[in-house]
Amino acid sequence: VSSLLIRVRWYTFGLFRDPENATPPLMKRLPFFSKANLLILLLALFCLIEVAQAVDFSRPLLPSFEYDPFNEFHVLRRDFLCAKTELLKQKVDQVYFLPATQLAQRDLFFESYYVSYILNPEILVTGGPDSLFAVTVVEPENVKQLLRETPYTLVLECGNSRVVVLKKK
């Protein structure tokens, strides 16, 4: 096995490493690089290629976290938070959030959970289970139908989004 490994290494990497101390042929032509250094450079180059494929060069390399225009999260958060004070004052039963942004590739459960739990933690932790109201995120194409069919009591315009509050009479 040992002999086989040595042979495999000689035939695959023999250009750089000679098991019997003969001068590797390529080394004569590449005086600047030792066999080990060449392999190390190749591995480092692989790493660079790998990370370069992941970086999105169409975006700012040092993005701003507060005002990134590409970031739909900030739009969603800003729009919902502007309605939060009003929502906290009201004893509401159901809230529909009609985001302005197209929430592609995300299902409604994800968004509902996201808005309920993440954007209104004060509602979640300061009240009992009774004060927890559900938030449903509505896809833009269903907004008109919802407004026609739902006996809403308040529509808050928030940025480009709308928050529809349903309160039982």
């Binding site: 190390i40 790493c47 790998e50 992941a54 590409f70």
Partner: protein, 463 residues
């Protein structure tokens, strides 16, 4: 003001960890550790200490601390005590840390590639964090959400146990985030982002520090570069998953064991840090229990077999001293929390042990995910490293074989434990494998890289 406060809290925790590592290391080895080891190990240890002080305060008073926050006074007092100890030891005169590599001549082209690779990883992290400031699914549904209960829940923080997704999960990352949010009075997005950066770049730096101590700069840079450029790992960190922090503590415990065995075999006090890091892994994720079991099982088995267990008793004493506070807080929290979903149907789980098809399914998935470890687009990083090792040759001096074999066995036992967990899981097996196996493998990826690079012949050229 909020930004300065937030960063101030970060640096308070960092200074705590830095001084703690420096002091324990100095007391154990009579030298201060290298700056690299102090900084990167200290960052993680500091985060763990701050998180424990915050959650400990919360548990003791059963409410989120109000001004003045007690835990901050405790942190400040601890910092002053550590600083006094550090100044005292510094004045007594200490030899400089031993340099393992000596003056090294590295190729400018290699350094350039490394600089570009590390910069690329940093940019990728920043871009990912800007796209998803609250992280991905686990980031916001678990760790950030738990932090909100802890920071803003007041006396009602225990409503965390009514949370629908995994209320029993340990609280190290959530506690560290909540500590800052409680002081700031709001859920500043920067805090989970810098927590993610701390553990991600801390893992890369810690891997480099261990390799630098035991081999030299060339090995350290190449090992760190591989981890930094594994974009699956960087993405997992930016997505604020706790698999990266738990992997940090596993690497820290295993790396410290290797440093003890290969550099300071007589310095038992280092086990205090090993115990502390194993304990922090417990307090980060439930997988920490499996890591602790693997570390202890492999080492004790070896010591019993070589009849050196009695001689190693002081080591285990220090290990327990480091582990005990974290063990206590984890057990206390577990006593309050609902049972873990994995134990929902114990009889069904046991019956699954006899189902051979499950073994085949787990085995196939394990192989598939191991080949894709690190999620390299250009191919399998493990295959690439195997080729690289074949080309460079292995370096396993006789004196190093046993410690390296023990580290390798620890990782192997951990994989075995994960394997068994999937056999026993009461959840749908395929769903469970597809949603978690790649993350579990990432937990020991940095430690595996440390082991691989310690075994490859990568001698630096000395000038």
């Amino acid at each position: 003001v909020q930004l300065i406060t937030s960063l101030g809290l970060f640096f308070l925790s960092f200074a705590l960890g830095l001084l703690l590592v420096q002091l324990v290391w100095r007391l154990a080895t009579e030298r201060f550790p290298s700056w690299m080891l102090s900084v990167f190990l200290g960052a993680g240890v500091g985060a763990g200490v701050s998180s424990v002080l915050f959650t400990g305060d919360l548990f003791l008073r059963d409410a989120t601390p109000v001004a003045p926050p007690t835990f901050l006074w405790v942190e400040a007092g601890l910092l002053l005590a550590l600083l006094a100890g550090w100044v005292f030891l510094r004045r007594r005169g200490t030899p400089a840390p031993a340099s393992s590599g000596g003056p090294v001549r590295l190729q400018p082209l290699f350094l350039l590639l490394c600089a570009a690779g590390f910069a690329g990883a940093l940019i990728f992290f920043l871009q990912s964090s800007a796209l998803r400031p609250v992280g991905d699914w686990d980031g916001w549904t678990l760790w950030d959400l738990h932090a909100k209960f802890l920071a803003f829940g007041g006396a009602g923080w225990k409503k965390i146990f009514t949370e629908p997704l995994h209320p029993d999960y340990p609280l190290l990352t959530s506690g560290f985030i909540a500590r800052a949010w409680a002081v700031l009075g709001r859920d500043q997005t920067l805090v989970p982002i810098y927590t993610a950066a701390l553990f991600l770049f801390g893992s890369i730096g810690l891997l480099m520090a261990v390799l630098k101590e035991l081999r030299g700069w060339q090995t350290a840079l190449l090992g760190g570069l591989i981890l930094a450029c594994s974009t699956g790992y960087t993405r997992l960190g930016a997505d604020q998953y706790a698999d990266v922090p738990v992997g940090f503590y596993f690497l820290a415990a295993l790396g410290l064991l290797l440093l003890h065995d290969l550099r300071f075999p007589e310095k038992s006090l280092l086990f205090l840090l090993v115990g502390l890091c194993a304990g922090f892994a417990l307090w980060t994720k439930n997988e920490g229990w499996l890591m602790l079991a693997a570390l202890v099982f492999v080492r004790v088995s070896f010591q019993l077999r070589s009849r050196s267990f009695r001689k190693a008793l002081p080591e285990w004493g220090f290990f327990l001293a480091g582990l005990a506070p974290l063990l206590l807080i984890t057990l206390y929290y577990r006593s309050l929390a609902p049972a873990n979903d994995m134990t929902a149907a114990p009889w069904k789980s046991l019956a699954q042990l006899a189902d051979l098809s499950r073994y085949a399914t787990v085995w196939n998935n394990l192989n598939q995910y191991l080949v894709a470890l690190g999620k390299w687009k250009s191919g399998s990083v493990l295959f690439l490293l195997a080729l690289f090792g074949l080309g460079m040759g292995l370096r396993l001096p006789a004196a190093e074989r046993a410690p390296l074999a023990l580290a390798g066995l620890t990782i192997l036992v951990l994989v075995g434990e994960y394997f068994l967990t999937y056999i026993l899981t009461p959840r749908d097996l395929l769903w469970h494998l597809q949603t978690s196996l790649d993350r579990l493998l990432m937990q020991f990826f940095p430690a595996l890289l440390a082991l691989i690079f310690l075994s490859i012949h990568l001698e630096p050229e000395k000038s």
